[in-house]
Amino acid sequence: MPSNDTQTEAVEQTPVHVDHLIENGELAAENAWCVSYDAEALPEQRPAFVPLTLWQANQDDNELAPLLTSDTELTTELGSTLKGASAIAVDFPAFTDGRGYTIARLLRERYGYTGEIRAVGDVLVDQLDYMRRCGFSTMALRDDQHPEDALRALNAFSVRYQTDVKERQALFEKRLTASH
């Protein structure tokens, strides 16, 4: 697994391809994309998620899309640059790194990004529901995860207290509406 949390460790050079992709709450039939962590050279495979700087330098290649590291600071400038991306991948270097949730929310709620946002890296079954609520449309499961567990985990809850990317009414508001 890629582990670029500190940015000092050697990053994985071989592009990663994941078999199990969750899309729209279901197991996708196939996953065309590979993810390349190499910030120096473009991978041969297409389509590919590549590090942000590489994507920015090769914007004429329609089959490339940006891969955001979890420490990406989403400035207004970057937010508007990313609007032109055909898809965006957000990396989870470790499943305990929760920064990706905020990144996805900002992309959706602040910068109005409507394309695919994909969670890649250390993506586990029990995170999928939170990821979806924060705006991820696809999640590439870590290889050892069981896709059937994923579908069950995604549907564990029918009640949410807060608003999220899809739910625009907090439960406290819904209760008021229901009682009138």
Binding site: G98, R110, D126, Q127, A156, F157, L171, F172, L176
Partner: protein
Amino acid sequence: MYRYDIHDQTLVDERVAQFRDQMERYQAGRLGEEEFRPLRLQNGLYIQKHAPMLRIAIPYGMLAGAQLRALADITRRYDRGYGHFTTRQNLQLNWPALEDVPDILAELAKVQMHAIQTSGNCIRNTTSDQFAGIANDEVEDPRPWCELIRQWSTLHPEFAYLPRKFKIAVSGAAQDRAAIQVHDIGLRLWRNDDGELRIKVLAGGGLGRTPMIGDVVREDLPWQHLLTYLEACVRVYNQFGRRDNKFKARIKILVKALGIEEFRRRVDEEWAYLKDGPQTLNQAAVEAAKVHFPEPERRPVAASATEDFDKLRSENRSFARFVTNNVTDHKVPGYKAVTLSLKRREHAPGDVTADQMEAVADLADRYSFGEVRVTHEQNLVLSDVPVDELEALWKELDALGMANPTVGTLNDIICCPGGDYCALANAVSIPIAQALQERFEDLDFLYDLGPLDLNISGCMNACGHHHVGHIGILGVDKKGEEYYQISIGGNSTDDASLGKILGPSFFREDVPGVVEKVLEVYVAERHEDERFLDTYRRIGLKPFKERVYAQQ
């Protein structure tokens, strides 16, 4: 008392089903140890020294009698017939079997309880004033606000994997009884000159290995924006809090590193986008929360009852001692709040047996509208007792061993479970508490000392809040030996301060003697009616140090 509706109940039921599934996957080897860890922690389940430990949430310390009975039943069926109340107003079970935990959570859900987010790197149980709703000096009842925060923070999709744990405390009174200055976020409810409710927001306080007093982020947040502002604070923390070193990962380190101005700027920048968004509160939503905390139907208490109470107090010395220390004035004349002491030598501070839980539930039903509160000092409170029933209640408590008239004294020790139970501890703490209680059991001596907080932690994680004890004791490990470091001058209330370390640490058996010397200095140096803390602040550390480390 907050009562679940269909939504709350569905959520906790679904949470139980989710955890049962996770536990089954773990046991079947489909979920690894490391992957299971945050999932179990966010359901209150630790793997401890001798056995798993389960921490049950008691939101802002409020318990109904029926819930306490259910807890008693759970401790008998799944544990060893007792539980431990913590400084976060929660209840810990020390001996549950791992495989029973889903069933225990299901039992809790039946009485509208859970263990959600009582551990892990997420927003924890919000704590508050044990005298909320009844205090003389209250500006606003914090409980409806705590409940709104509880709901907002429960299974928040963005904040389940924060850099570290995150604790919020709320106070709505003139005097801070919720230690808001030593929380990740402390909230103080107050009213401006126009009578409008405002919220003072502090951030970056905390204990642990780097104790700090919180800084003010915003003095006068209008209440409508409570949740969006909290969201902005936690979002800034989630993005920028350190993740490379767990000892530097709390928000206090971020606030200190950025400086409060820069932290505030980032929060405000974030908040500009969230402000007036869909999580903005309105009057109707707040009123709906307040409906759950009505004034109980208190009966009129005759003025003569108060006179009789005063008379008994002047005639009966034991009763007078109990009243002075364990009984608190109430906003309604004729009513009092009674603190039940959970500090006795034969038990660890905060421990309660199943029999006692049931007995307290019965007392709550008969004397105080069926409700009990847990205090962060690890005691229990019956909040609404008519004065003409105080004597009867006192006698019943005495028979239960819960009328120790020592609340607020040196004997009312705050103490973590320590090395006897906790895998993190460097040293035992309960035996230290017991040795001190044994040494200083003379009531006249305790009363003469006046209000004195003595807090003990078995390691620098500071669950026993030793930094804010007037006298703080910390267990440390040196080359495998247990030692104790003693500090003085800490305080968790309005004029919060962190204790200063006296000097080199002590052997366990020397601790009571050292505390005695500290007290001797105080007694010799104090002005009339001067509290320990004030004497210390006036004369400084030096006289204490000289006495304690004087050559024999």
